[in-house]
């Protein structure tokens, strides 16, 4: 072999367009920051004093509770609907199809109001034989509280969307997987639980994270029926002091913080269900920090 030739030292291509675009955006960002800092009517002092005020914290708690509750209803019912939708039984298939058709086809706010006002037409609820005697009676006003109507309104609506997401996930799993499980003597339910769903999760999780973030903000609709979650709480406070914008900023910071937390949750869920999909799992952010600190100091900022 001859000696190794010198490395190529070429003049890099210049990108004047990028510089212009970056400069223009830079100016816009600077204007925004200038506005946020100097506009005294934004009242950052009010934002700060309300951020951890007791009623706001209660609102945060309720928003989280609603998000978790509605998503739980949505995911569980959604998976059931997806499985029904793929059943060979035409009645089950049809019911699932009709459910999805109805709940996706009407506005979620309408559904929420519907559940809230349902007690005005159906005064009592009872459990028993259809068209026959009943064993349990309850006044519907005591059963369908504000909280329950929000959980029903948003949860049942979410189930319709989750059903399609779960169905896509189940369809993404190779048919050979179910065949292999069947050949081993596994039953349909076992196959679904042990083989198909764990693999479908990889496809189901990213859009579900999307839905969770969306739900986090959709829970603000609960304020329309007087349930004091984050937005409702802010509305109640600014109805008294008229500091509307500062309070909206305050709860926006909370929504952003909660959304960011859900990113982390999604990251670890994806990692958990990504096992076996890639040869090596990517390191977690924590592991990356540790490697950067221990292995190669000074890297990254040089």
């Amino acid at each position: 072999m001859a000696t190794r030739p010198d490395d190529i030292r070429a003049v890099p291509v210049r990108h004047p367009g990028r510089w212009v675009a970056a400069a223009a955006l830079g100016v816009l960002v600077a204007m925004l920051v200038h506005f946020l800092v100097t506009q005294h009517k934004l009242r950052w002092d009010v934002v700060a004093s309300n951020l951890f005020a007791h009623p706001v914290l209660v609102g945060v708690e309720r928003t989280v509770l609603l998000t978790v509750g509605c998503m739980a209803i949505g995911v569980v019912l959604g998976v059931v609907l997806a499985v029904l939708r793929m059943s060979p039984n035409p009645v089950l298939k049809g019911v699932s199809w009709a459910y999805i058709w109805f709940f996706r086809g009407t506005p979620v706010l309408v559904q929420l109001l519907f559940w809230f006002f349902l007690p005005s037409v159906v005064a009592s609820l009872s459990v028993g034989v259809p068209f026959g005697p009943s064993f349990l009676h309850a006044d519907s006003k005591t059963v369908v509280t504000q909280l329950v109507s929000v959980l029903l309104g948003l949860g049942l609506n979410e189930a319709a969307y989750m059903a399609e997401i779960a169905r896509a996930g189940i369809l993404s799993v190779d048919a050979g997987q179910s065949e292999a499980a069947a050949a081993l003597g596994m039953r349909r339910v076992q196959t679904l639980r042990r083989i198909v769903l764990p693999q479908a999760m990889r496809v189901i999780i990213p859009p579900t994270g999307n839905e969770t973030i969306s739900m986090l903000k959709t829970t603000s609709l609960a304020s329309t029926i007087g349930y004091l979650e984050l937005l409702g709480t802010a509305q109640e406070i600014y109805a008294r002091n008229y500091l509307i914008i500062p309070l909206l900023l305050c709860i926006s910071l909370w929504y952003l913080a909660l959304t960011s937390v859900s990113y982390v949750g999604q990251y670890y869920l994806e990692r958990r269900f990504g096992r076996g999909a890639a040869r090596e799992l990517p390191p977690t952010p924590l592991q990356r920090v540790r490697v950067a600190l221990a292995g190669r100091p000074g890297q990254g900022l040089g």
């Binding site: 292999a180 499980a181 069947a182 349909r188 096992r275 076996g276 890639a278």
Partner: protein, 260 residues
């Protein structure tokens, strides 16, 4: 022990098996017998129906006409007097426990390690204690030469290794019959040997095997019986010395001249 399994009755008995997909008749009267402990290789051109027949044997496909028995019992149906009843899902699953199957595309469970794949069915289907299932699974992985890869996920294994795990997974249910659906067709040529070696070992241990294959060398060496299927019927069957080395039928000769 059932009397049916020991000796007299064949392990697999097919009589005029028919199978349609829509309007295409894929199997048009397959009849064959595989004795217990025998290795039967099924050969034939692609689209001849040999894989479909194999899938009928463990009821992954439902037959439309004819009779198919494994170890003296009807596959997928139950006879009561002159009436034939379809088996319930639970009953079909129970009959499949005793029949191992190895697929062309391995179909390992990608979210489980090699060990997890082999343990899955004994734990979930037979209710074997995890510790016992693990001991048995490790022994099986050793037997297919992969004892040191127990913790690897399928994506971390070569095709040949994956297929050997798939064989171990099927053996974990202690089947009385093993079905192989072109087990080496998806492998790189240099990986075929390691899978065939495992299958040779199984045959030597007396396992009853029904193998759909394009590996004529393997068929000639290991098979007790070779069955040539074309256009949904058995054209010729017999010992490899007859069917492969000295075929009587022109269709068999024609096929062999293309693959040998």
């Amino acid at each position: 022990m059932t009397t049916a399994g020991s000796g007299a009755a064949p392990m697999v008995r097919a009589e005029g098996v028919h199978k349609r997909f829509g309007r295409t008749e894929v199997l048009r009267g397959i009849s064959l017998e595989v004795a217990a402990g025998e290795v039967c290789c099924v050969i034939g051109p692609s689209g001849s129906g040999k894989s479909t027949f194999l899938r009928c044997v463990n009821h992954l496909e439902k037959i439309d006409a004819g009779r198919l028995e494994v170890d003296g019992t009807l596959v997928g149906y139950r006879e009561e007097g002159d009436r034939i009843h379809e088996l319930r899902e639970r009953e079909v699953a129970a009959t499949r426990r005793d029949i191992g199957m190895v697929f062309q595309r391995f179909n390992l469970f990608p979210h489980m390690t090699a060990l997890g794949n082999v343990m899955e069915a004994p734990v979930q289907v037979l209710g074997t204690a995890k510790r016992d299932a693990e001991t048995a699974a490790r022994a099986l992985l050793d037997r297919v030469g992969l004892g040191d890869r127990a913790g690897a996920y399928p994506a971390q294994l070569s095709g040949g290794q994956q297929q050997r795990v798939a064989i171990a997974r099927a053996l974990a249910m202690r089947p009385k019959l093993m079905l192989f659906d072109e087990p080496t067709s998806a492998l790189d040529p240099e990986l075929v040997g390691e899978v065939l070696d495992v299958m040779r070992g199984l045959a030597a241990d007396g396992m009853t095997m029904l193998v759909v294959t394009h590996e004529m060398g393997f068929a000639r060496e290991v098979a007790d019986q070779v069955v040539f299927i074309d256009e949904g019927v058995v054209v010729e069957a017999g010992p490899p010395a007859d069917v492969i080395t000295a075929p009587r039928e022109p269709r068999t000769r024609d096929f062999l001249s293309k693959v040998l």
